[in-house]
């Protein structure tokens, strides 16, 4: 095994363990913190796979968002730091059996794929060129412009919606309507 493979396995292990802790940790805030570690592990995996752009975006988008998520957690739950919630449902054995069946199926599928034992082919282009290709593909009429624009329309709708909710003039009118 090369150093790169050892690093990959170690980081994958950390990512998986912290993902497990996200769902088993009794405190909401701790779950959010474990989620950060898990997402950071994925960012490092991106770096190891020569995708530094995705790694940086992973940190910028997710970890920044988690700081806000912690605020929401603190605001919506009472005593979020010490709450001892039940993290295991009564039907845990059913869930475990289901998960085990799916895991076995996936493992069988993965080991049967012909690409399982192949070495990864060397990248055809430099990293920068891949990034440029990605950028152009997002605005190319023949490629992904439609999903890209649909996503931006969705975000725009959310923005306009939040402005309308917070607009003082419309809020007054709603109150008058209630009366």
């Amino acid at each position: 095994m090369t150093i790169l493979q050892i690093a990959f396995l170690l980081i994958a292990f950390v990512t998986l363990v912290s993902a497990l802790m996200v769902v088993t940790s009794p405190s909401m805030v701790h779950a959010a913190l474990w989620l950060i570690l898990s997402l950071a592990g994925i960012a490092v995996l991106f770096v190891l796979l020569n995708a530094s752009f995705l790694a940086v975006v992973q940190v910028a988008v997710y970890i920044d968002a988690i700081a806000i998520m912690i605020i929401i957690v603190v605001m919506l739950t009472n005593d979020p730091l010490r709450s001892a919630m039940r993290t295991v449902t009564r039907a845990w054995w059913g869930a475990a059996i289901g998960a085990l069946i799916i895991l076995t199926g996936l493992l069988v599928m993965i080991t049967q794929t012909p690409a399982f034992n192949l070495q990864p082919p060397p990248l055809a282009m430099g990293q920068e060129e891949y990034l440029e290709t990605l950028g152009r593909a997002l605005v190319d009429v023949n490629q992904f412009i439609l999903p890209f624009e649909v996503a931006s329309v969705l975000l725009l709708a959310a923005l306009i919606g939040s402005i309308i909710v917070a607009w003082p003039f419309l809020a007054e009118r709603r109150e008058e309507g209630d009366r």
């Binding site: 950060i36 940086v56 975006v57 940190v59 920044d64 700081a67 806000i68 990034l131």
Partner: protein, 402 residues
């Protein structure tokens, strides 16, 4: 050929590399060791620089407020910070009851890390920079996110309501001011055609971006000052409202780390402004003589840093509603409009010299006139609203008086 006088940094790096290879190390290991050494030197130099920064800031603010500032320890009080550090080191590290231990101790580390990490991509001279990654601008944003996280952890794990409120304020402010910051950063990225910091500096060779995009430069400067949380945006530690904010429960060196992070961050945003909008190491003969480039960089950064201190000494703290209104109703739309105007102007430009400068300056001038008209209209609207409200009050109270 590189010689020591024209390019000392490459000279030293080459010499060290040949030394390590001469010892019989593998090339990969030698590169790794060299990079580790570079990171250590850079980080240590930045943290040591903070001594000087704190002293300079205290001196300048004192002069602005008609005081003398530190003047007892060493010549001009220059070793005052060392004495302060020694005091901090000897203090007890108190952990509050009920604190969440791991996040509580992790938070100061994250705060310092996010600031020192920024220096990895800032080109200080043509050949002196940590890493020329092609997503440098995005890297700056994401490292800033880690700083926000550190503050959130500190506030949340301290088991103190003031700390929690301070952290909420900080996160609200940092997250919202990231929006105009990113939008303003898009303007130089658009003008350069690359997100790498070195490419941005190299593209500013005839005209620095502050001439091509003055509005974006101002927005970037304001929102990065807000991102640091310094006066006039220091309501995360408004003493009269929430005591000391998120670091209220930290003592000794742990408090010192937040302190260092804040001062170094102020200097770092000055360096970023100088790099992205003032041309970084660009200047006459900077390409031939690397040390001259470093000198230009230091001069430009110090100028911006002086303005940051000047702001702190001059402006009162803004209220939290003013902070939010200023961001969401003024700078964010302005940054969006400025980005659109710049994109259109850049499409119009064919010749890449003086006409480009004139077109961009003209576009920015139009934008400034539009802002003035819009602000005037908004002020008139507000005044009319206030008068209407007053009249309503008068009409209600009039029958009673009669």
């Amino acid at each position: 050929m590189q010689s020591f006088l024209t390019d000392p940094f490459s000279f030293i790096a080459n010499w060290l590399e040949s030394l390590l290879l001469g010892l019989g190390l593998q090339p990969a290991l030698a590169t790794f060791l060299l990079q580790l050494l570079g990171a250590l030197v850079l980080g240590t130099a930045m943290l040591l620089l903070t001594f000087l920064l704190i002293w300079a800031e205290r001196k300048i603010v004192a002069r602005i407020q008609d005081r003398l500032g530190p003047n007892r320890v060493g010549p001009f009080g220059i070793f005052q910070t060392v004495a302060d550090l020694l005091k901090l080191v000897t203090k007890e590290l108190i952990t509050p009851t009920g604190a969440d231990l791991i996040p509580y101790n992790l938070a100061p580390l994250l705060a310092v890390m996010s600031v020192v990490g920024l220096w990895a991509v800032i080109p200080m001279a043509p050949t002196l920079l940590g890493a020329d990654i092609n997503v440098g601008v995005l890297y700056i944003i994401s490292i800033g996110a880690i700083g926000t996280l550190g503050i959130m952890l500190a506030g949340m794990s301290s088991n103190n309501k003031y700390a929690l409120l301070g952290a909420f304020r900080t996160v609200a402010m940092m997250v919202s001011y990231t929006v105009p910051l990113v939008l303003a950063l898009l303007v130089p990225v658009l003008l350069t055609g690359s997100m790498g910091m070195q490419a941005i500096v190299e593209a500013q060779s005839p005209w620095a971006y502050i001439f091509l995009a003055p509005i974006a430069a101002l927005i970037f400067f304001i929102s990065s000052v807000a991102e640091v949380g310094r006066a006039p945006f220091d309501l995360l530690e408004a003493e009269s409202e929430i005591v000391a904010g998120f670091h209220i429960e930290y003592s000794g060196l742990k408090f010192g780390m937040f302190f260092v992070a804040e001062f170094l961050h102020a200097f770092t945003i000055s360096a970023l402004t100088a790099t992205i909008f003032l041309g970084g190491w660009q200047g006459p003969w900077a390409e031939q003589y690397t040390l001259l480039g470093l000198l230009y960089f230091i001069i430009k950064t110090s100028l911006v840093y002086f303005v940051v201190i000047w702001l702190r000494g001059s402006f009162p703290r803004i209220r939290i509603d003013q902070m939010n209104a200023f961001n969401w109703k003024f700078i964010t739309p302005l940054a969006l409009v400025s980005l659109i105007f710049t994109a259109v102007a850049e499409k119009v430009v064919v010749d890449f010299d003086l006409p480009r400068l004139l077109i961009h300056l003209g576009v920015n001038a139009i934008l400034i006139v539009l802002i003035a008209i819009a602000l005037g209209g908004y002020a008139r609207y507000q005044r009319a609203q206030a008068e209407e409200r007053q009249q309503r009050v008068r009409q209600k109270s009039a029958p009673k008086a009669a």
